[in-house]
């Protein structure tokens, strides 16, 4: 099966205009920034970003902003509620003819995984429940990165963070599984959910284009390699992003009205290829190889994809 690209099938079709201008204070090689850069190209400039505390809060540092559009920093736990207030106000002002329709904006929550998977989850759940017409863009770097790379519910099994160090008692580091936020969103029955990777820009852009044709809550969940937190050289960001997908650890998929489609089915390289590149998994290989932990990660990926094969997209 090949996933039909309706809007973007060639790199040349991506908008040339940059919506996130260079010169921000984010780390060199930040994979999250690249996902945002690509997504913002498709969203265009009639956007208001509603930001929750995290690395991306440092995109707009007074008196500079890298965006053509608007920005509102809220709090860590309530960016979806900020989106609600803006969306409602725009609707009311347009309805009362105090704001011309052309002035309308896309309302986009911009948040990390800590916010998305944890602190703002109840605010998000409620916003989806109210069928809020908004985009939720999550750059998932699998940790609370901005505060120094602590464990979040998006941290995967086997990763070491500053609050889940590996020790004699916990040789594998984090031993809980990454929360499945895709399925948590899907259980709320929003019209659109997608996973993204900056290394697959056409897939990413196509999903943004699809999302923008749909009213209601839309999740865009981008795995965002973080050289600082994950421990690799900034030049390796694209490779780490690619291997996350090619090993099958980060499935590229979408759910339209709840129907899941895998938009790319990788040949699947061993997970080890991905893990080995990163300092956060180094303890799985040195000083002794932790076969059981590596096996566990591989088994889980295998089980995922065998379920995908068992349930082909309808």
């Amino acid at each position: 099966m090949t996933w039909p690209h309706e809007t973007y099938s060639k790199i040349k079709q991506l908008p040339l205009e940059e919506q996130v201008l260079p010169g921000t204070s984010l780390c060199a090689g930040c994979g999250g920034l690249e996902t945002l850069r690509l997504a913002a190209k498709v969203l265009g400039e009639k956007v208001v970003f509603v930001n929750a505390a995290g690395c991306f809060t440092l995109l707009a540092v007074y008196p500079f902003t890298p965006f053509h559009g608007s920005w509102l920093y809220t709090t860590m736990g309530s960016a979806p509620a900020g989106a609600q207030g803006i969306r409602d106000a725009l609707d009311v002002l347009i309805a009362k003819r105090r704001l011309p329709k052309e002035e309308d904006l896309k309302v986009v929550v911009l948040a990390g995984d800590g916010t998305t998977y944890e602190m703002a989850l109840s605010a998000t759940s409620a916003a989806i429940g109210r069928n809020l017409d908004f985009y939720y863009f999550c750059y998932d770097n699998e940790a609370y990165a901005n505060t120094g790379v602590q464990l979040s519910s998006a941290t995967p099994y086997g990763a070491r963070t500053t609050t889940s160090p590996c020790s004699l008692q916990h040789p594998a580091g984090t031993v809980r599984e990454k929360k499945d936020i895709f399925e948590i969103w899907r259980a709320h029955r929003p019209p659109y959910i997608a996973t993204l990777s900056a290394r697959y820009p056409l897939d990413l852009a196509e999903k943004l284009a699809r999302a923008s044709r749909i009213a209601g809550p839309k999740l865009l969940l981008a795995l965002s390699p973080c050289p600082t937190g994950w421990g690799f050289d900034p030049f390796q960001t694209p490779e780490v992003a690619r291997l996350a997908v090619e090993t099958g650890l980060w499935p590229l998929k979408e759910a339209v009205q709840g129907e899941v489609t895998h938009t790319y089915v990788p040949k699947r390289r061993p997970v080890e290829d991905y893990l080995r590149l990163q300092e956060r998994f180094r303890h799985l290989f040195e000083p002794t190889r932790q076969e059981a932990a590596i096996r566990h990660i591989q088994d889980r990926v295998d089980a995922y994809w065998s379920r995908v094969r068992a349930e082909p997209p309808r």
């Binding site: 440092l58 707009a60 559009g69 509620a81 609600q84 409602d88 106000a89 725009l90 002002l93 109210r130």
Partner: protein, 409 residues
Amino acid sequence: MTMSGELLTGNLAAAWGARLAEVDYVPAFPITPQTEIVETLAGWCERGDLAARFVTMDSEHSMMTAAGAAAAAGARVFTATSSQGLLYAFEVLYTVAGWRVPLVLVNVSRALAAPITLESDHNDVLAARDSGFLQIHAETCQEVLDSILIAYRIAEDQRVCLPAIVNMDGFYLSFTREPVSRPEPDRVRAFLPPYRPSHLGFKASRPQALGVAVLNSVGYSHFRYQMHLAAMNALAVHQEAADDFARLFGRRYDLVDGYRLEDAEDVLVMSNAFATKGKAAVAAARARGRRVGLLRLRVIRPWPSAAITQALKGRRTVAVLDQNLAPGLGGILYQEVAATLGGEPDRPRALCSFVGGLGGRNIAEGEFEAIFARMAEAGERGRGVGPILLYTEEDRRQMDQWVTIAGNR
């Protein structure tokens, strides 16, 4: 036409305040004793009596964020909460004030858990006193309604641009019907013009960035100090609004409300609805020959230092009756009043601190009489007393009985 003498609860008066202000947006979350306000507004929005969007939010944290964000987008916003709800929104109070957006939040004062209770005192609203929200504390249901209109006038003024809290006491005002004169919509429009901010609003043609990081102390100090100056501007803006209000509606509201202060040697300072009890006690004490008066603090943020000093300087004794208790300190407003008078050469001979009315506990006339007696004594000795908790023998016996029943003795 002015409807005079219609019986409204404080909550209904608050809902009418929002309706007359023709608000655009009401994000809400339930908490007793505030619910009647948002239930009423929900009904009006549903039936089209008020052209606003009403949204039930998932928490006060979300509610305040939505309220602030909508205000930042250019809508006139109203919301209401109480007690634990106000505390749950705390992080966002500071955030919204920092965005410098106007909106009005009615807080129906209720004591804070634990232990949990439904009845009123002021630890909730006073905890928010440094958030950047302006604070107006109402004594009557009429004042609740009027203060909402005044609060919008001040909050939306270009010299201020800060959100405001209008406070009323739970149960004592929220569910008490009093005659309220409901201002006529046309006149309200003359007093409070439609909200058309030229400087705020998210729109395609003029992007704005709000709440951006500063990451340096120079920027942070600048913006924080700007908030302070804006809040101080609200003192003058309040007086202009009060003048206009008096001209249009015949009711006058000052920063502080003096009762029988002319020749009073001892002055009791209070706020909110219990001030009515205090005034009655002053009248009774006057009849018995005591030269006492009462100063009600109406605007608590910005803190009206000059008005307070003016009213209290040269008195023999000033006592503050706080309906809050800051554990390890005493009464909050006492501290602020004492600090205000501290630098005054003509300051009162004695400053006293009383704490009472906690968790809605009544203050009986006899207790006021005891306070006046202590004040007179303190004035004669030239030394203040307190903090003294108003707690009677009867209260103690009641408590002993409960402790026995609970099996702890």
